[in-house]
């Protein structure tokens, strides 16, 4: 059964990763690159190469992209094909990971596993691991002022976990007391509050940020829903033939 889950997860991850990369290429990716042009147009760090203000338009990010990372010395993929290739790999890994988690949860729950139950679990996963955390930490373009990274990652992961537990209690438990407990667990991270950014300023225009939040949520919804759909479908086929 483990083999069937892993095989299904890899198959689904392949499809999801490719689909996600295509959608990102026309939705979030242009916005990220656009935002980076504003970031690179800002006063460059002392160590950076001579200013590029004259050419700081559409393609300036090619020259300045590494400067916006924490560690300017570290390797990063070159813009263009290499960068897209690494993004595709990361998307594939995300697709496999999400599919494996969804299939594992569906197996523990028991009952039918197919495309239609898979897509429901996927949408629930999106709700818990993307939509609810985004209430505290909305999707950010490069160049957004934000609190320290580790504190945000901890809040994000805890919120996703609490949301998943809360949602599961609300949906699956038979007792009203447990359902209410689920609601409390789900709301708790937002009462505690996400790490607050030092300022609300951003290097890019506000409209760009708004567009990106919507685009990012759509991409996340696609990741989760498609992972559930494809992995459920594949699992049903593979376990039937096994």
């Amino acid at each position: 059964m483990f083999k069937t889950i892993i095989l299904s997860a890899f198959g689904a991850g392949l499809a999801v990763g490719i689909a996600l990369s295509v959608v990102q290429a026309v939705t979030t990716e242009p916005l990220i690159l656009h935002a980076e042009t504003f970031e690179s147009a800002e006063p460059a760090p002392a160590a950076a190469a001579p200013h590029e203000h004259a050419t700081a338009e559409a393609h300036a990010h090619e020259a300045a992209a590494p400067a916006h990372e924490h560690d300017a010395d570290a390797w990063s993929p070159a813009d263009g094909f290499e960068r897209s290739a690494y993004t595709l790999i990361a998307n594939l890994l995300m697709g496999v990971g999400v599919s494996a988690v969804l299939l594992g949860l569906m197996s523990i729950r028991g009952g039918r596993i197919d495309a239609s139950t898979g897509v429901l679990w996927g949408v629930a996963g999106f709700f818990a691991a993307s939509l609810l955390p985004s209430l505290g930490l909305s999707p950010e373009l490069p160049g957004t002022a934000a609190a320290e990274i580790t504190s945000r990652q901890i809040w994000w992961l805890s919120t996703a976990a609490a949301s998943a537990i809360g949602l599961a209690l609300i949906v699956f438990s038979g007792s009203w007391l447990l359902k209410i407990a689920g609601l409390v667990i789900g709301v708790m991270p937002h009462v505690i509050g996400a790490p607050v950014p030092p300022s609300l300023e951003a290097s890019y225009p506000a409209g760009l940020g708004g567009e990106f939040v919507a685009a990012s949520l759509v991409v996340s919804a696609l990741l989760w829903a498609l992972s559930g759909l494809c992995s459920g479908w594949l699992y049903q086929r593979l376990s039937r033939s096994a």
Binding site: M1, F2, I5, I6, A9, L20, Q24, T28, E29, I32, H68, E69, H70, D71, A74, W75, S76, P77, R83, Y86, T87, I89, A90, N91, L93, M94, V96, G97, V98, A100, V101, L102, L103, G104, L105, S107, I108, G110, S130, P133, S134, L137, S138, P139, E140, L141, P142, A146, I149, T150, R152, Q153, W156, L157, V213, A215, S216, L217, V219, S220
Partner: protein
């Protein structure tokens, strides 16, 4: 004789093992799959080393995960 007594006790032990291994054969691989999936998800979306961060940068931003 010993053979006979073994076969005589087998049906009961099979039933017990069967029930136990049914739950185990469902839960254990499922938990392993979840652990594997979470490892990939957190490794891709949250790992701190600059190399991993830079390689997965656009995916992290696109999916609204905390980045930088």
């Amino acid at each position: 004789m010993t053979n006979f007594s073994k076969t005589a006790t087998r049906p009961a032990s099979i039933a017990a093992d069967g029930a136990r291994s049914d739950a185990a054969s469902r839960i254990v691989p499922a938990l392993l799959a979840i652990a594997f999936g979470l490892l990939l998800f957190v490794g891709t979306g949250f790992a701190a080393p600059s190399l991993i961060h830079n390689a997965t940068h656009d995916t992290r931003h696109s999916l609204g995960l905390p980045c930088h």
